[in-house]
Symmetry: C2
Subunit: 465 residues, 2 copies
């Protein structure tokens, strides 16, 4: 068992190192926010000629996404999931899909930037629109072999309709491990943790008779469950905010809750692709999702987090904010949902940029963890003049944009209820502070090094055997 | 008729303006070269952890692609074709799909950067792996309302299996127009024009009894048809090289000439998506395309072009080099073909960078005209543990990479023999010279302004009415 060996080394080294300057890092992750998602959101939110706030950032680079098989040989896998990529961002180590800040093959726990920051006396926080136990936030403050091990009841018998999906038996406390993701978050030294996922905090902790939420309180967290409580929480508390049972409701939805839909070819067309006709899905608008009413926005949570992390703080902080449902809505073929969460990310970025105006030693990085399935496609085929039915074999949404044109969005990576991720390199944006540190093209793991160095968390820690 | 009115104004102004310094612009266009194509090529050519030469360029930015409907109202269209985007790059004007350096709605001819350069006493050249009459090269030196009007026989009755696809009757010389694309190229002041498309130069010119090729010779072009002739052409000639009847053969193909293929679900699975099984396409390697043997590579053509354009040249030059079949092979669902043409683009870039080392006043820009359909997808679904058949509804290639892993490439924008383009913003790369001129995010039309200013082709020319 190599658990915590390198982590403790890292903590000790980190503790000695951050004596140089007080600096802040705000890492904003748009889950699945690739150039298609960005272009779709730009067209809808700002118009074809418009600019997102992202587009006005002085730094734009590309990030090479790396994944390996679950072995110590590190054979490449060309498409990532959010668990392995969040691990890479949080720890600088490339790992295998499904892992939460543990190493491929060896299962070694990997120290995270949030842990290093806390150990060095900096504050640290996580804000997400997912459950706080979801892969991206989890990877910054927990270590398990499988992302599905979100609470004490999900450590051994994880299945979907009887199909076993793995377990985390070596992460059980009884086996000398740190327990489930929720238990690790409750035991963490985070200063603020906001998002969804309250259902993962109600089970009893392993080997105890209190709930995970009670364990978090015992560890000094003040619990809040709604916007009013969030704004009225004591100024000096460590804060755990859980605003929904799971993922927070998204801001926008297709009218009538419509997703992308299949084109409907005529019977004749089914017999031969050059015959018959096809009915395309009706156009649709995006509308507000009533379920999001009263739920704290990502911006509101970020504002509170920045206030908590920066108040009377001479040492600096690390904050990760995730707009999670760009990806989740794309899996479900809901372009309006993704667009709304891109808008939430833009608001977070505006908040971070305003903060950095008053705190110049603040590095702001915005990136995606991996690319996604959605494609911005022509509304009406480029070959429609050829007078035969041409249509996507997948699902298409035809969105009426506020400027009055129609934007096609195609989802066609599989026939399953959830689309696949894709393997393109993803964009990275940074504020002027980032320009000195980030080249035009970097590996995802380099971002960890840049953030660690910026926070003064040197010297280097040997993370691998 | 507004034909040539503004063009002549531009030429006169251009003539007076380039007295400041001798500068060179090399614009390299990867047709359809979006971040998926780049990532696919990187994985295959350099490995998952590898870097393309593109990735080592000091400047990387994003380009907003704009297209409008064919009217003077400029209502946006969210997905482009190569004709309208090449027009934007060549002239700085956003136009409608299918147009070659003519304005949407008004059909006004738009002066191109190559024309402005020639008029100001600079040299100009075009190199492409497509037919020189294809949309991208054409837009730098010709003006027609429809890209299909490639030769004198294709001006009026353009159809596909009896389906009429438009015409260029107002571009006929008899109507006071400049004639077909091939005729305009033959009459152009380009110093060098290399690529495919000899079949478009054999018809007789409109209203004459000589072929387009003979007209080009009468205009001072030396014609070459193979690599030997290319290398032995007289040093002081203007050069027209046509090395294939149409598009040049591509470098790589799937083994056994295989393209992406459909997964084959079992009969039971056709009845219900959770039942039965599915056969995925066999994996495949990429192999050399024997048809490309003896054809000049894009690099060989670029070397000759740079030699011709720079020799004893005190005034500078504009050169556009297009790797055309990244896009063309993606339309045909041939990932190996696209990868090979990405490799050709890399070789061109290496050639250009080596040239710029000795000629520091050389601006190198590499960009795509628009995004394409191919997606880098997981080989084996992310949901394969769920024990039901999961597969793409489109066509998939499973490519064995030289590092021994399998890379999935999905084509699923339509059911037609040719995939659609897509609408994501595209990457832009530049050499150190470009860093002073190019911000992190720009509109495609801005690239024209940057190149024009760099070549000293100010003052501004009013391009629209």
């Amino acid at each position: 068992m190599f658990r915590f060996k390198t982590l403790m080394l890292a903590l000790i080294l980190g503790l000695c190192s951050n004596m140089l300057h007080a600096a802040n890092v705000i890492l904003i992750i748009g889950d699945g926010m690739d150039d298609h998602q960005i272009s779709i959101a730009r067209n809808y939110l700002k118009g074809a000629q418009g600019r997102l706030l992202l587009d006005d950032m002085p730094l734009r680079a590309a990030v090479q996404i790396l994944t390996v098989e679950d072995s110590t040989e590190h054979k490449p896998v060309y498409v990532a999931d959010s668990a392995n990529t969040a691990t890479t961002l949080a720890t600088g180590v490339v790992t295998s899909r499904g892992r939460i800040s543990t190493a491929a093959g060896s299962d070694e726990d990997l120290p995270t930037i949030a842990e290093l920051a806390s150990a060095a006396g900096l504050r640290s926080g996580i804000v997400t629109s997912a459950s706080v136990t979801d892969a991206t936030p989890a990877a910054f403050a927990a270590h398990v072999s499988l992302r599905l091990c979100e609470n004490p009841n999900k450590m051994l018998d994880i299945n979907y309709r009887g199909i076993p999906l793995g377990n985390c038996k070596q992460d059980l406390k009884a086996a000398g491990g740190p327990g489930s993701i929720a238990e690790q978050l409750a035991a963490s030294s985070l200063d603020i943790l906001l998002g969804g996922g309250s259902k993962h905090f109600s089970p009893e902790i392993e080997g105890g008779n209190i709930s995970v939420a009670e364990a978090a309180q015992a560890n000094g967290f003040t619990l809040v469950h709604n916007l009013e409580q969030l704004h009225n929480a004591p100024a000096d508390a460590r804060l755990l905010g859980l605003f929904a049972p799971g993922t927070l409701p998204v801001r926008l939805q297709g009218e009538g809750q419509r997703s992308a839909e299949a084109a409907k070819p005529s019977l004749l067309n089914r017999l031969h692709p050059y015959l018959g006709s096809v009915s395309y899905p009706d156009v649709m608008r995006c509308e507000a999702n009533p379920q999001a009413e009263g739920i704290p926005t990502l911006k509101a949570m970020t504002e509170v987090a920045l206030e908590y992390l920066s108040r009377d703080n001479p040492t600096g902080f690390f904050l990760m904010v995730e707009s999670a449902s760009i990806d989740k809505q794309a899996h479900e073929r809901k372009p309006c949902g993704s667009i709304g969460e891109m808008e939430q990310l833009e608001e977070v970025l505006a908040t971070a940029m305003a903060f950095a105006e008053n705190q110049p030693d603040t590095l702001i990085l915005v990136t995606a963890d991996h690319a996604q399935a959605a494609q911005l496609v022509p509304d009406g085929s480029m070959y429609k003049d050829y007078n035969i039915p041409v249509y996507s074999p997948g699902m298409v949404a035809r969105i009426v944009t506020p400027e009055g044109a129609i934007m096609g969005v195609n989802y066609a990576t599989n026939n399953y209820p959830y689309e696949e991720h894709t393997g393109a390199n993803v964009p990275l944006f940074g504020n002027s502070e980032a320009q000195a540190y980030v080249p035009a093209f970097i590996q995802q793991s380099d971002l960890f090094n840049i953030m660690r160095d910026y926070l003064g968390l040197k010297p280097e820690v040997e993370l691998r055997d």
